[in-house]
Amino acid sequence: MEKLVYIALFAPLVSSLFAALFGMMPKKQFVGVVTSILLGISFVASAILAHYVYTTEEAIKVTLMDWIGAGDLHIPFGFVVDQVSVTMMTVVTLVSTVVHVYSNGYMDHDKSFNRFFSYLSAFVFSMMVLVMSDNFAGLFIGWEGVGVCSWLLIGFWYHKPDVSREENPSISPSWAANEAFIMNRIADLGMLVGLFIVYWNTGSLQYDEVFAQLPHLSGSVLNAAALALFIGAMGKSAQFPLHTWLTDAMEGPTPVSALIHAATMVTAGVFLVIRANPLFSMTPEISYFIAVLGTFVAFFAASMALVNRDLKRIIAFSTLSQLGYMFAAAGLGAYWIALFHLAAHAFFKALLFLGAGNVMHAMDDELDIFKMGGLKKVMKWTYLYMGLASLALAGIPPFAGFFSKDAIIETAFNEGTYILWAILVVTAGMTAFYSFRQVFLTFEGDERYKKYGFHPHEVYRYVLIAMSPLAILAVIAGFFKGSFEAFVTELLPEYHMSEHTHHLAWLLGLVVLAFAVGGIVLAYKKYAKGLKRDEALEATWYYKLLANQYYIPNLYEEFISKPYAMISDIFWNRVDMKIVDATVDGIAKFLYGTGDGARRMQTGNLSNYLNWMAVGAVLLLAVAAISAAIIG
């Protein structure tokens, strides 16, 4: 089994290095094939491991070698394959494999085909390190690793120039990449501080040792550690106020958005909370804060998705919103439900993004859904896939999203946090509305694309086949809820609905369903017949507010980026040059000036020198006499 662990972990690394060998060469089709196969191997290994853990109910622990050892701190490269990590491994490798195969088609005409696969596989490796590590430091390796890969992949088309925010809200791929990296770094500082708190209070960074020590720690330490770690999670999972990078990250190629910014990396924050559940379950205040923030983000992001016109950004906002759901579940103590939604979401959201990729491919990278419409005639399969994924996302039974999201909403009710419950229910309605607004505007109604001169066509058949596992899982994943619960609650705390909730379960489900169906029906009425723009609505302040993401990116620019640049400039030109350096030069100038002044004594006239000598002698005599008088 140990070998399988290493195969699952290192196959993506080998894949990445292999592709990197050809990174600077023109497209080589076999690079795409080989990397996809290696990822497939990693998936098979993960699946076998999952089966092993499922049947034996025991975790596999391996230690590769020591990493850092200094003072009392010892960090090994240790990996653990237990119920939680194996779930993540399977989900990650499955989606990655699909995305790799898909990218063969999507990146077909790209000059940097090989480079793309190198980055993509490197990302999978980092993600595997993140989920498999048996200590916080190893998690942090993966954490930063996915950050860099995300930076590389968002900025993949780095040659595009910067444009104004009005023209493209993300400015440019390289700008979006830097924004993502820096925002994540802000959160990573929190994460690092969390590690420090854990280390100095428990003497270790190994999960099992740390969790064993937790009961001996004081409440304030636990709160501090939980808060710091959650700040880290907020960055990676793009929670408010560190959320703006996620929508800008849509500048990356669409397979990247599917894999990194929907299915895997952004869920790392949720994974962290689930992984550290012993810590978070001991800090009810922080957990409640997580749940509230999660609920807020769920609603907040959904509201921005309502009016957006960008195909990918809508899905990005919906990702944000679903991450909010996951945090709400984790914050309320239903860790396994959060993990379940994480997995189910990975399938249908990746499917949705890949579908969006197909549309973009067909539409020459056009993203404005107002310019599409009626695509169902030429893109039957993509319509089917995106429709399925949207149904799952909207939480319509029997699709995956229904089971996972309904459970979260039920949890909110069960915990007695009725306000959260109400917000989550309303958000579910909004989710259904914006998902189907997008689907209908893209695939139904009048064929607006003809006006803009596009010639859409369906993508390669193998690409469609590659997407099918995700489609199947988006449909059926929900049926495994029971066995999934049994499986992961071996490790995670169980969560049961109270008697009361249990009785009301069908009613609650019905309410959620009503909102979801209502959303879809509304979207159908408004958009299925074609686009009818409501100028009056679009001119209202609240529409503008939503369309401009509550002006938060502008606020960040005005109140953080610009002042930072300005202060930097002042520090350099005013402080460093005019004060610090000028002081040093001032001292030098003073000495130089004194010398220059004293130079006048050097007249070259012997007589003057003799006079000076006499003056000096008299002065010396005087000093001698005075000091003799004082001492004597």
């Binding site: 007249t603 070259g604 012997l606 006499a614």
Partner: protein, 100 residues
């Protein structure tokens, strides 16, 4: 009775005359004379104090000073002659090539 203090006063007066000469004169030859006057003022003091203490070291030192002064004059006058040949004058105001 002529005592030590008289000698010392003479010495001091001579020294001051020499010093004023050094400070005021512009001619190098005159400067030399002024220096000689100062040296001899010191010699008087040496001899007088030596006698006062009954210690011959002072008088010995006076001889030493005379010897040094003699050699200094020998070398110095040589330099003066060369200078005079070169510049045609011994006026210090004309000899300021070391101006800083």
């Amino acid at each position: 009775m002529i005592g030590l203090s008289h000698y010392l006063i003479v010495s001091a007066v001579l020294f001051s005359i020499g010093l004023i000469g050094v400070l005021r004169r512009r001619n190098l030859l005159m400067l030399f004379f002024a220096t000689e006057v100062m040296l001899n003022a010191v010699n008087i003091a040496f001899a007088a104090i030596s006698h006062f203490y009954g210690d011959l070291t002072g008088q010995m030192f006076a001889f030493f000073v005379i010897a040094i002064a003699a050699s200094e004059v020998a070398v110095g006058l040589g330099i003066l002659i060369v200078l005079y040949k070169k510049h045609g004058s011994l006026d210090l105001d004309n000899l300021a090539s070391m101006r800083g």
